[in-house]
């Protein structure tokens, strides 16, 4: 059904060309956006756009099976894995602008242009013929033909692939696993640390509904100043970052005292609500990230 819809009939030449132009421009735009956007999450979204467009192009070229695999594996599994890891590794961390290697961007741009010229020359010289008359035809349908090839000619690489996937899964588990090196803290120890940490009571809640309708508004102390403990460190960092990049400083003005340099370590020693000893939370990172990449996508 999809197959007959996708394998273009000979008359739909201009339609395919128009679709190609639209998709190609969108794909190149999204790819450029991906490498030039600052926030990693936006990069992931742009990459999802490129991958979906490529899936559509696979479908246009008579590869419906690969189009679906592209959507399921790449946009479904790989990009979600990227987003999971991004949540662990710190969403708030934008790329630094400072170049560690002098002129790196310039040279990278030159290398990119020369690679483009090289590839364009090679591809231009290659004799790329027209598409074969009826598209891939070893069999009645695309899926059937692929299955026949995978399970006959390519059956050994296919099996090796399964070994590779198992190895990758085990490797990811080993890499993401962390041994407990000290003894498990007891309740007595935790309560002692809590009292010794100087803040035995629970942390103050944010000033939601006191003045504003948002959790990033700090609670006010009796003397009218803002309580720094009442806002999550992640939100404070985001505000500082927004202020740095010229955006609107949502809460930074109230959380940070005026005149104070915006140091990223400001909310660093927040006693966590569990009563743990004060820990450093660099970049607003939760102290114990859950085991990350253990969820393999099964291919």
């Amino acid at each position: 059904m999809i197959h007959s819809l996708i394998l273009a009939s000979p008359g739909s030449d201009s339609a395919e060309l128009a679709a190609w132009w639209i998709l190609a421009i969108a794909a190149v735009g999204a790819a450029l956006g991906m490498i030039f956007t600052k926030r990693a999450v936006h990069c992931a979204v742009m990459l999802a756009v490129v991958m979906l467009i490529l899936a559509a192009m696979y479908a246009m070229q008579g590869a419906p099976f690969l189009a679906f695999v592209q959507v399921i594996v790449y946009t479904g599994a790989v990009l979600m894995l990227f987003l999971f890891v991004m949540m662990i590794v710190g969403v708030s961390a934008a790329d630094s602008i400072i170049e560690t290697i002098r002129g790196q961007r310039l040279w990278a741009g030159l290398a990119g242009i020369s690679l483009l010229v090289l590839l364009a020359l090679v591809v231009g010289h290659a004799a790329i013929g027209a598409a074969a008359p009826s598209g891939p035809r070893n069999s009645s349908t695309n899926v059937e033909g692929l299955a026949r090839l995978i399970f006959t000619t390519y059956v050994f690489p296919f099996e090796v692939t399964s070994a590779l996937l198992i190895t990758a899964a085990v490797g990811a588990m080993v890499l993401a696993h962390r041994e407990r090196t000290g003894p498990k803290p007891t309740q007595r120890l935790l309560s002692r640390q809590r009292v010794a940490g100087g803040h035995p009571a629970p942390l103050p809640g944010p000033g939601t509904y006191a003045q504003h309708n948002a959790v990033d508004m700090p609670a006010l102390l009796p003397d009218g100043s803002a309580s720094r403990l009442s806002v999550s460190g992640v939100l404070a960092n985001r505000a500082i970052e927004a202020e740095r990049s010229g955006g609107r400083p949502a809460i930074a003005a109230e959380v940070l005292e005026p005149g104070e340099p915006a140091d990223l370590d400001m909310p660093a020693t927040v006693p966590t609500r569990g009563g743990d000893p004060p820990r450093r939370l660099p970049g607003g990172l939760p102290p114990e990230p859950p085991a990350p990449a253990a969820n393999e996508e099964e291919r």
Binding site: I35, L66, D95, L119, A132
Partner: protein, 100 residues
């Protein structure tokens, strides 16, 4: 049907964009994403050539590339999180213990 050369040209452009992304970005996650973009571009050209030859072998190879890319992402991201745990940074510039 339009010529496979169109698709190969697009694949070349996407590949170059991915390569430039690998070179200019510092966040290791974004570098990884650029590598994925390059792999996808190569897959596109595989499928275009499969169509040109009227055979399915190119599609099978693209399928294998996808599988290997999935395995690569899994291991790479696991390495990234363990580096992040040790160094508290996801920037490729900060993983410089072996320098000098």
């Amino acid at each position: 049907m339009i010529s496979p050369a169109h698709y190969v040209a697009l694949a070349v452009i996407l590949f170059v964009i991915g390569g430039v992304g690998v070179l200019i970005r510092r966040n290791a996650l974004v570098v990884f994403m650029s590598v994925e973009l390059m792999l996808n571009a190569v897959n596109l050209s595989f499928i275009a050539f499969a169509r040109m030859h009227g055979q399915l072998d190119g599609q099978v190879i693209a399928f294998f590339v996808m599988v290997v890319a999935a395995a690569e992402v899994v291991v790479g991201l696991a390495i990234l999180t363990s580096i992040f745990r040790a160094r508290k940074s996801a920037s490729v510039d900060d993983a410089n213990l072996l320098k000098n």
